[in-house]
């Protein structure tokens, strides 16, 4: 029984069947990649997992609880964090403040009117935030405005914001999209390091096969809204169906 169990999920947009009967099981503490050509339904699937979309059919169970019908903030409280394709950060705030927000957010999402306590007085939170920024190698950028960061740094910051919450499942939506090769390798190293340091399950949606094969322990190939095959990376590489549906296209 995996930490995330997707059973028979289907989603239709008007006349387009974006997802049809997706079954997926992600094992705890594994790195699971979901790949597939454009329009295969990867992002739709991800959106169904975090509550942005509600599937028409099927069930999504996380840790034995259904996530369907829950609001994004409730799903996050269950222990799922998400890194977006275009980094979603607080652009007007400084890097440190960006990370402080998830630090102050209670795990259960409880509202706190701590309107008269000073942030600078909360040294434990600051330490926690600075530690995670050191982990993602951004310790010298804490005072910068998040909007002024490079794209790679923005994504790093977003990852720090997710990681500081210590999620059980981290969803990564094309974490290296639009990155230079060096940056991509840094990100791979970063993710590997995170994985080695703590118990965390990662689900990665990715186009870049280099990233996928460097990180993933299992790979699901999605084509036209349905899973084509699911296996360990070595098997996927040579799989004829995959070659046809995806790799062939990518190399051609």
């Amino acid at each position: 029984m995996g930490i995330l169990e997707v059973k028979g999920v289907g989603k239709r947009f008007g006349g387009l069947q974006a997802l049809g009967n997706v079954n997926l099981s992600i094992a705890e503490n594994s790195v699971h990649a979901i790949i597939g050509p454009n329009g295969a339904g990867k992002s739709t699937l991800l959106n169904c997992l975090v509550g942005k979309l509600i599937p028409d059919t099927g069930s999504v169970m996380f840790n034995g609880q259904s996530v369907l019908g829950r609001k994004p903030h409730e799903i996050n409280q269950m222990g799922i964090s998400r890194v977006f394709q275009t980094p979603e950060i607080f652009g007007d705030l400084t890097v440190l403040e960006n990370v402080l927000i998830p630090c102050f957010a209670k795990r259960d999402g409880a509202f706190e009117l701590n309107a008269l306590t000073s942030i600078s007085g909360q040294s434990d939170m600051r330490d926690k935030a600075e530690q995670i920024l050191t982990d993602v190698n951004m310790q010298d950028k804490t005072g910068m405005h998040a909007a002024s960061l490079s794209r790679g740094d923005k994504r790093r910051l977003e990852m720090a914001m997710c990681l500081v919450q210590e999620p059980k499942l981290l969803l990564l939506d094309e974490p290296t999209a639009g990155m230079a090769r060096a940056d991509t390798n840094n990100t791979i190293d970063l993710l590997k390091e995170i994985k080695s340091k703590r118990d965390i399950t990662m689900a990665i949606i990715e186009h870049d096969m280099h990233v996928v094969f460097s990180l993933a322990e299992r790979i699901t190939v999605l084509a036209q809204g349905t899973p084509l095959v699911e296996d360990i990376p070595e098997k996927i590489k040579g799989h004829p169906k995959v070659q046809e549906a995806y790799l062939g296209q990518a190399h051609g």
């Binding site: 903030h73 927000i101 309107a115 942030i119």
Partner: protein, 401 residues
């Protein structure tokens, strides 16, 4: 000091000094001089500076931090005024219970309106608040006449019960508002120094005290985790949701706090002059606080106070300038040219003050979205950059794109 860092403490001290010394600062011209018309150090105007300052500081807690643009904030000001006048009618003429009651009632009213309006964001939120405020305004004129006294406005009468005070003074007139028995709000001490006349008014200093308190609380909120959450709401609500935070309790708390500030301002207005009318709730009045806040600098600490002072000063001083005064100003020009210039300039003064204000407001929104505070910073940079040109490139806050 007071749990503030050095920069904020300095800011608070500066504002405190300005507030305490306002009777001097605002009366720089000798009483007999031609420039005395630019003096603003008379109680009535000084009271309005600080009261509208409180209103704008409160509005900024909502708009400046969360980005939710309420177009109905005057409703809370109006409710505050009505509540205070009712306390004067029922209990007595001491202003403190009246002000406390104003804050509570406005807060409750804001809770109700905020609870509904905050279900929507963006322009829908603006329109919802506008609709609520306009509805309150219309109701104050019609069905709620027993509470608001309709078009006449709510006033004190000799037959009011005033169970804790006196119904009428010894000479049979309506008693006046006071802070302590014998310390009336309208009392002033005047000081004549050479040609200068300075007035120190009880009402002003009470209002100034509340402004400082309100400002202090605003600074604390800005620097608190709660304030950080509010700024995060403005910056990226989606990320906040995906961080496990339900934003509505935060925005609602900000809305209620900001409504209480407006209630305090309304209560103070009524404490200075115990009457309340529905026109205080009209949406153009809500627009005015929006203008003050933006003009000064939304999202900054000092901006709203500057904006309120600026608007109220020019509203009072500009609007007193008539064509005769303009002719005086331009008397150095030859007659024909003088007439011409005055004809051109006149529409912007006197009655035309609103025109100048509208143009100024547009200019600020277009060219200087950060308001006067940003303007000040830019000028400051201009001077600082000259000695050390080239260090701007290393500035950390310069956006990459």
């Amino acid at each position: 000091m007071f749990g503030l860092d050095k920069k904020d403490t300095t800011l608070l001290l500066v504002v405190t000094l300005l507030a305490l010394l306002a009777p001097f600062i605002l009366n720089p011209f000798p009483e007999a001089s031609a420039l005395a018309q630019f003096n603003a150090g008379y109680p009535d105007l000084m009271q309005r500076f600080v009261i509208y300052g409180i209103f704008a500081v409160g509005f900024n807690l909502l708009f400046g931090l969360t980005g939710y643009l309420s177009f109905g904030h005057a409703a809370f000001l109006g409710v505050g005024s009505y509540s205070a006048v009712w306390i004067f009618k029922l209990l007595g003429m001491n202003v403190l219970p009246a002000i406390a009651f104003s804050i509570v009632i406005s807060g409750l009213f804001a809770l109700l309106i905020g609870y509904i309006s905050l279900r929507r964001s963006g322009i829908y939120f603006s329109i919802l608040t506008l609709a609520f405020a306009q509805m309150s305004f219309n109701m104050a004129y019609s069905v709620l006449t027993p509470i608001t006294n309709g078009e006449t406005g709510l006033q004190l009468t000799l037959s009011d019960p005033r169970i804790l005070g006196q119904q009428a003074t010894a000479d049979g007139s309506i008693p006046v508002t006071n802070l302590l028995p014998g310390l009336e709000m309208r009392q002033s001490v005047q000081l004549e120094l050479g040609g200068w006349l300075f007035t120190f008014n009880t009402g002003y200093y009470l209002a100034a005290f509340f402004l400082l308190l309100a400002f202090y609380i605003a600074i604390r909120i800005f620097r608190s985790p709660f304030g950080l959450m509010l700024r995060a709401v403005k910056s990226n609500q989606q990320r906040l949701n995906y961080t496990g935070i339900h934003t509505r309790p935060y925005t609602l708390a900000a809305f209620v706090i900001s409504g209480m500030y407006a209630g305090l301002a309304g209560g103070l207005l009524a404490s200075m002059d115990p009457l309340a009318g529905a026109e205080r709730m009209q949406w153009t009045a809500s627009g005015e606080v929006v203008i003050m806040t933006i003009l000064g600098g939304a999202g900054t600490l000092i901006g709203p106070i500057l904006g309120a002072g600026f608007i109220k000063y020019f509203e009072n001083i500009f609007s007193k300038i008539n064509e005769n005064i303009l002719h005086d100003w331009f008397s150095f020009l030859p007659q024909g040219l003088q007439d011409f210039v005055v004809t051109i300039v006149a529409p912007f003064f006197g009655e035309g003050w609103s025109l100048s204000m509208g143009l100024m407001f547009m200019a600020i929104v277009i060219f200087l979205p950060g308001g006067l505070v940003e303007g000040g910073q830019r000028i400051g940079q201009l001077f600082r950059r000259k000695p050390a040109a080239g260090d701007a490139a290393s500035s950390q806050t310069t956006p990459a794109e």
